[in-house]
Amino acid sequence: MASKAVLQVSNVLKTFGGLKALNNLNLTIEEGTVHAIIGPNGAGKSTLLNVCIGQLTPDTGSVEFDGQNITGKSPHQISQQGISRVFQTPQIFEDLNIFQNVMIPALAQADGEFTFNPFKGLDQRKDVEQEALRIIDEMNLTSQMYDRAGAMSRGNKRRLELAMCLVQKPKLLLLDEPTAGMARADTNQTIEILKKIKASGMTKVIIEHDMNVVFSLADRVSVLAQGTIIAEGTPQEMRESELVKEAYLGGATI
């Protein structure tokens, strides 16, 4: 029983100047899986995510999401189709409070990419508000709900960004190093939260350096080096692969 592919990246080439950041990359993400992408620095992991969310357009090749071609679409269209991304450095609305931060993506679900309703007060959006409050509670942020987001700790900012993505109920969640720069305790907490989401069956792509995180969460692992996937398999297989070790330790020559 082959499960359905949610994201299908085919033959994507992306160059910066002379550098091939992505070199004919192929990748399939299957529905309901947690798919980790690992690889040395500069392997093209972030570029891959940027192509997926429409921040970058590939030179050649295509990205298909949920059966539709999304190559060259703008970020907001892709987001409306159901891809959310947590960034390496938290991208939140620093000047707004936490409640507002979560309200906005909730409104994106309700209003679509553009709605002009300047006379509909926020107090008339109870349904949206309920949803936002539920996620805030789930993320243990209720106590600081009316604090300015920019004033929070880095760990909390990350949790807030995760909340913002989750409230959108994306079909595909992209996580760019969700535990980078976090203290041990925070990392564990994040793993717990991610496990909880995993149980919900949402498809996720995680870029991660911390192998503990990868092995405790991922169903499948792809190894990226010099812009191509050099190996793919279960975490167990990857752990034992010589190729992967080589890619990480010495300059991989494929």
Partner: protein, 373 residues
């Protein structure tokens, strides 16, 4: 809202102790109030700094005067048309300028405003009447008015169904319009639309990745604020039916920016406060002359009096702009969020002083007691 309306409408009463209870300045308060409220919708909510809003003010004024000339002396069509016309201009300017952000946006709007200004002075003189400014003439057709009555002797004046729109009645009409304008802006600030605009200001990229198409949001905000400017321009013409190109100069945009930031960008009442402060002091300062100064410093010894007069005369009368410039620098440097913020900080300091002082005194009492032992 009711309190706000009452405060605005009673301005002739409570402004009188300040010597500002005559219709001319009161009209300026409310009309520039509309302008600043509108500007705040763009700059305050989205953070886009436009140097082109004076152009909309000018477009509004010209449209209104043309409406008086061609259609009717009634201000209703004039104001509707000026809002519409400036809206059209704003769509055109906004569509292009909003393709860029930050300082590029500012310079694009600046370029547009200068184009309008230069054209108003040159090729468009048939429409704008160049340096003289557009004025009413006896021979104007006034089609709608002609349907109901013959042309009277002398120049007709602007009316609202027979009510004169100059003097106090002009103030009340403008005030009611401003209250409505304020109400709309209040609604926008409290709506989800307003929240999205604030989010665009905070992190536009994040908005895109969350699935919002930010362009139409920005354009809508730009057009709304352009229409406010047009409304203000129309009201200026309605209370005094002439229009000149100097209203469109980019330094006039600078003035509305100053009003908005002086009171507090992004706050509801800030811009209004800024307008009142600036227009009030403009009125006072630019009216002061040497004689006034001499009498003001009369108590000082003569030599000091002369020095003080010489120094202060730099800042009053013609020199009002110098004061304005200094004020500008001061506000941007120290109160980037405006006077309201300044008041808030001051209040916090005072209240913290009062809340701390009891603990201090108890401590003192303690040590005192210890000494006693």
């Amino acid at each position: 809202m009711a309190i706000f309306s009452a405060v605005v409408l009673s301005m002739p009463i409570w402004m009188s102790p300040f010597g500002a209870a005559y219709p001319d300045i009161l009209q300026k308060f409310v009309i520039f109030g509309v302008f600043a409220i509108g500007y705040n919708i763009l700059f305050g909510l989205t953070g886009y700094l436009s140097f082109g809003h004076a152009a909309f003010l000018g477009v509004g004024s010209y449209t209104a005067v043309w409406s008086f000339k061609l259609l009717s002396m009634n201000i209703i069509p004039a104001i509707l048309l000026s809002v519409l016309m400036s809206g059209i201009f704003a769509v055109a300017m906004g569509y292009i300028a909003l393709r860029r952000s930050g300082i590029y946006f500012s310079i694009l709007t600046l370029a547009f405003a200068q184009m309008c200004y230069n054209l108003a002075y040159s090729v468009l003189t048939p429409i704008t009447n160049g340096e003289t400014g557009l004025q009413l003439a006896k021979s104007d057709p006034r089609i709608i008015d002609r349907l109901f009555s013959e042309a009277g002797e002398g120049l007709p004046s602007t009316t609202l169904f027979g009510i004169e729109t100059s003097g106090y009645s002009g103030f009340y009409i403008s005030a009611v319009i401003m209250i409505l304008a304020f109400y709309v802006s209040l609604k926008i600030f409290n709506s989800s639309f307003g929240l999205k605009l604030k989010a665009i200001k905070s992190n536009q990229n994040r908005m895109r990745y969350l699935g919002f198409n930010t362009k139409p949001y920005l354009l809508t905000a730009f057009v709304i604020s352009g229409m406010y400017a047009g409304l203000a321009g129309g009201l200026l013409a309605a209370t005094d039916p002439l229009a000149g190109a100097e209203r469109m100069q980019w330094t006039a945009s600078g003035e509305v920016i100053l009003m908005t930031i002086l009171g507090g960008v992004g706050t509801l009442f800030g811009p209004l406060l800024g307008v009142i402060i600036i227009k009030y002091f403009e009125n006072i300062f630019s009216a002061v002359n040497q004689v006034d100064l001499h009498s003001f410093y009369a108590l000082l010894p003569d030599w000091l009096e002369d020095i003080m007069v010489a120094v202060s005369s730099m800042f009053v009368g013609e020199g009002w702009h110098l004061t304005l410039g200094l004020l500008f620098m001061f506000v941007v440097a120290f109160l980037p969020k405006g006077v309201l913020q300044g008041v808030e900080i001051g209040y916090k300091k005072i209240s913290s002083y009062f809340s701390k002082s009891p603990t201090k005194s108890t401590k003192k009492a303690d040590t005192g007691a210890n000494h006693g032992e």
